[in-house]
Symmetry: C2
Subunit: 350 residues, 2 copies
């Protein structure tokens, strides 16, 4: 289904807001527990083992591309491993999710954070990208690299895991110097990691800013945006399109637009056409099906997908995706039907 | 500070979008753990004991009104007790929060839910309202009653507690008849409970729709809004102003406006003036300081409060509040300073 030249692929064309024959589709966390193939690998390996073994990361990255006609792959990893390179002890527990045993709690902790080149700390993921690119050669399916955004990484570093109110993070934000130093380090690490992924072969990059939506627009603008923007600028200078994805940011899309990313990923809590109106025509948009919709009977799921395609119609630059990662028990048949339905729908001309 | 006639109070005037001398302020969950007086009562009584003992509920309701110059009281209760009257076993655990031991998982469970008058099931809260009104006589501070909105109660009833993805709820929503029957029952119970609170003396009512922001605008509109709207209509027919509060709904404020509430409560993830633009002039607005801002140094907190007051200036109908409930460890001094600062700021004339 995909054209053989990656640069002419639907996905890359949509990132550049060029005309496409069919709407490209990929799914956040598309290599994941809903696939029997993935669960089989997980029986023998922990998440961190898969991430740190390029052959395994490559295998898992390719699984959804072999199973469905997806228009892009995304390298298998997680947003948190770069924190290990900075000196934080990361663990994925089965109950609590990711936990950092030595979180950042003082200016001394901020000072102690290391800023090393991604080539030294994240070599396994860079190698995995090289492997996947080799495997994908001739298939016309581009590969996405990604990183957590500086703010979201700072949240995990400070809170030591998930959080209800991000109170420690928000208090650190009022401690002006400590926050600046922390965000400087996060931004340097993230920008270098993303550019290194591009060098290794990633053709598009995505910044996951999972927790940015916990901030007021004012705090986001004053204390986070300058750092995120500098990362986005560095990636764009490297000539690679970048997708910025946040959730619960629908009250500040006008601010998100100012970040200057090529594509904005939106969650499902807003109509896609409404989001695009607020973001303006100068940006491509990725989204925005509720991941829970994949559990609906097909008729209902189809209706929901149709509404999204209709809301996007008449404009260039829509990439179909979920509004958040695919859920663990998602029925595989619905994934296949959805991908085929999106590809079967003609893109309406302007 | 408050005028002696409740009807002429700042808070009620603002609900009706009438001119006020100073912006009224109250805080969601203002009777709570951040107050030493409250913690003292909690040492001897569980949350459900306080709720079910009108004298205790009254005592706790009055605590913040004695400590700060707040412009409204809110009856001490929780959104979940009405579920007990419907036949669900509610428990507040210290670790997990509220838990329902016999959640609604089948059409038979939906059928089994009882719909009884609030006078029979929630008499303790209605009595507490009567007690508080007597205590507040002559103080010119109106009393707010409240309920969980039908959707949010349905979430708890189905999930049995908090949830990450509300997948069970969303799947029930696709089972058209079960969902309709459940929401019919919830709406009947909620409307009757709110009107009964008004009869008992509550002067304003608030609907808490904590989880509505987990839905897409389309699902909200098709499967939730008609029920919420019918509740709001019944309350307004009883002649009492109603506040609708949801969080993470900033992508669908245009839909929220259609509910027809007198006041819309917004979270802090949007600028207040931007929210008001989307809601239109026909509605009062309540909010929207980030609860975490109360942990900031006073100078920073003051700046944040000032921005909100400035964004509201020139229009009638702003009620200052947090964008969500006050957090357990909030410094009491900052609460006092905030209330006094809001009252010390002159309302700008249009």
């Amino acid at each position: 289904m995909n054209m053989t030249n990656d640069n002419g692929s639907r996905f890359l064309r949509a990132c550049r807001r060029e005309r496409v024959d069919r709407t490209p589709i990929w799914l956040m966390r598309q290599a994941g527990r809903y696939m029997a193939e993935y669960r089989k690998v997980r029986e023998r390996h922990s998440i961190l083992e898969i991430i740190k073994t390029p052959e395994l990361a490559c295998e898992v990255t390719l699984q959804p591309l072999d199973a469905f006609e997806l228009d892009a792959g995304i390298i298998f990893s997680d947003i948190l491993p770069p924190l290990e390179g900075m000196g934080l002890d990361l663990e994925f527990t089965s109950g609590e999710g990711p936990v950092i045993r030595n979180p950042v709690r003082s200016t001394r902790d901020v000072e102690a954070l290391r800023v090393l080149p991604a080539n030294e700390t994240m070599g396994f993921t860079l190698d995995a990208i090289r492997l996947v690119r080799r495997e994908l050669e001739g298939r016309g399916v581009p590969l996405i690299g990604f990183s957590g955004a500086p703010f979201t990484l700072a949240c995990y570093a400070i809170e030591g895991g998930g959080s209800r109110n991000y109170l420690r993070t928000k208090q650190t934000m009022s401690a002006t110097e400590a926050w600046r130093d922390l965000m400087d380090k996060m931004s340097t690490v993230v920008a270098d990691y993303l550019v290194s992924q591009a060098d290794a072969g990633a053709q598009v990059l995505q910044l996951f800013d999972t927790w940015a939506g916990e901030l007021s627009p004012r705090d986001y603008k004053n204390k986070v945006m300058p750092y995120t923007k500098s990362v986005i600028e560095k990636v764009r200078q490297a000539g690679v399109p970048i997708i910025y994805f946040g959730k619960n940011m629908n009250g500040m899309l006008e601010v998100v637009r100012e970040l200057g990313s090529d594509v904005v990923g939106i969650d499902w809590r807003i109509d896609l056409d409404e989001a695009w109106r607020r973001l303006g025509d100068g940006v491509a948009i990725q989204g925005n099906l509720d991941p829970a919709a994949l559990f609906d009977p097909w008729d209902e799921l189809k209706k929901k997908a149709k509404v999204i395609l209709e809301q996007a119609s008449g404009r260039c630059g829509h990439i179909f995706n979920l509004g958040h990662g695919i859920l663990p028990k998602t029925p595989v048949d619905n994934v296949r039907r959805l991908v085929d339905y999106v590809h079967g729908t003609e893109v309406q001309k302007t």
